[in-house]
Symmetry: C2
Subunit: 289 residues, 2 copies
């Protein structure tokens, strides 16, 4: 008897909950895949930590998804880990690994006419200049800025607060001033952190007219569909939402197991805000940290 | 030949840099002690994590200070670890352990006439109700509130920003409304997180006239001096700042070794803001996480 796997197993990793926005986009593109998601919540946030530490933590989660959950593909749904540890993760596992930086840069290329783009992200992502490098490979000039307060504001649930409006205004004004001083004529803004899509309405209001706001979750899901869909079976090739009835059927039958390294209650409570649906029961995992 | 130790070795622990405000107060009270400070910066912040995880992390740092640095006493200069893991730390090591919660409650007792006090702290500290219990033991009623944005605002350096003023105003208004609804007539506010002393001027401006603001760093250092000074030698008993010349001498000869589990550069850069003097070279430590 030979077992035939009809749908791919996709492991998705983030330091916390933010990567669930990428998982939501993946589910829309590849609804029949089996998903395992791990949030390394015991050690978040990664954005203020060093490359060495981030690489060690991310490799542990990657191995968990491949060796213990049987993932055939890994999606690193965390900008910080993608920026600083993608090579370490690829070394740690033997399956294809996709990050969020390259798809974000590709989306910026498609959106920008001037060839100049802005990127907002965590401290660690900005200091790595991973977006600058990925954009340069697409003939784009990128100007990056760290916005460390945006993640805590999202986690506090202040996604519709005048305080958050003001913080965004301050950050974007500083960014615009510095980018203009650097001679850039930017017409696109990349949200280089998976928490930021929850602030998208506030950010859209704060940017100048005509500036495109780019969320790498969608473009990452597109890249994943291209990578995985090409190798997967008939099931996965079926267009995901031909009809509403079909989409509903998919929504009901999502194969998803969520894991966290800390407080599963908090994950279950906050995770649905990012995923746009209940996460289901979350299992606690000890990665030895 | 018998070696006689003329001054005690004090280990001080925090999840990050905030505990350096407690270390600064300790140095003023016990200037001749030998200090080892560890900040578990690879895994901060603790304030949003679960009791189980905090206890495991804190015990690792405590063992490092006692077993590898030879500390005779431990001061847990972190409200979250004191609130959730003091018993676990005491079990992990064989030396006297002092937290910041009980000294904070004692200071609140001394400051309050009405017997009702307010406490602001991290999520984890508030959920533990450690301050409520410690205050109750002093016949105080305490009303606690989590203020998760204050730590990131301090770490971003926005300690003199109108945004921080507004966030403090929002938190304190909510706290006052809830405390009044609970029938409290509070006349003191405890800063239940070692980051908050850096916001003290803003908090002083935001509280009603007559409300005392209490920083547990000073009262923790008093408790430590009582505990350690009583057992230490002539050197440590000498009043720390009899004369200015003497104080300067002490300042020059502080025995301090700082350790961090992540980015020593960041520790050296930010740490001096909390310590009020340069931290000196910081050594990287791997606690296995």
């Amino acid at each position: 008897l030979t077992e035939i796997r009809v749908s791919p197993a996709i492991g998705v990793f983030d330091s916390g909950f933010g990567g669930l926005t990428v998982l939501a986009a993946l589910i829309r593109k590849l609804p029949t895949a089996h998903y395992s998601f791990i949030g390394d919540t015991a050690r978040l946030p990664y954005g203020s930590k060093s490359r060495r530490t981030i690489a060690r933590y991310a490799a542990q989660s990657a191995r968990f998804l491949v060796e213990e959950q049987g993932a055939d593909y890994l999606v690193i749904a965390c900008n910080t880990a993608s920026a600083l540890a993608l090579d370490d993760i690829k070394e740690a596992v033997s399956v294809p690994v996709l990050g969020v930086i390259e798809p974000g840069a590709a989306a910026a290329r498609a959106a920008s006419s001037s060839g100049d783009v802005l990127v907002i992200a965590t401290d660690a992502t900005v200091q790595s200049h991973a977006y600058k490098a990925a954009c340069a490979a697409h003939d784009l000039r990128a100007f990056e800025k760290a916005c460390p307060l945006l993640v805590p504001l999202v986690e506090e649930g202040w996604t519709n607060s005048h305080v958050t409006d003001e913080v965004i205004r301050i950050y974007l004004n500083e960014l615009a001033t510095d980018a203009a001083a650097g001679g850039l004529n930017a017409d696109a803004l990349v949200l280089g952190c998976t928490h930021y899509p929850l602030l998208r309405p506030l950010i859209e209001r704060a940017v100048p007219a005509g500036m495109r706001v780019i969320d790498s979750a969608e473009s990452t899901a597109d890249s994943a569909a291209l990578l995985i869909g090409g190798r997967a079976t008939i099931d996965a090739k079926r267009p995901p939402s031909q009809t509403k009835a079909c989409a509903t059927l998919f929504a009901q039958s999502i194969q998803l197991n969520c894991f966290a390294t800390d407080s599963v209650e908090k994950f279950e409570r906050l995770g649905s805000r990012f995923l746009g649906r209940p996460t289901g029961p979350v299992q606690l995992v000890d990665l030895g940290g």
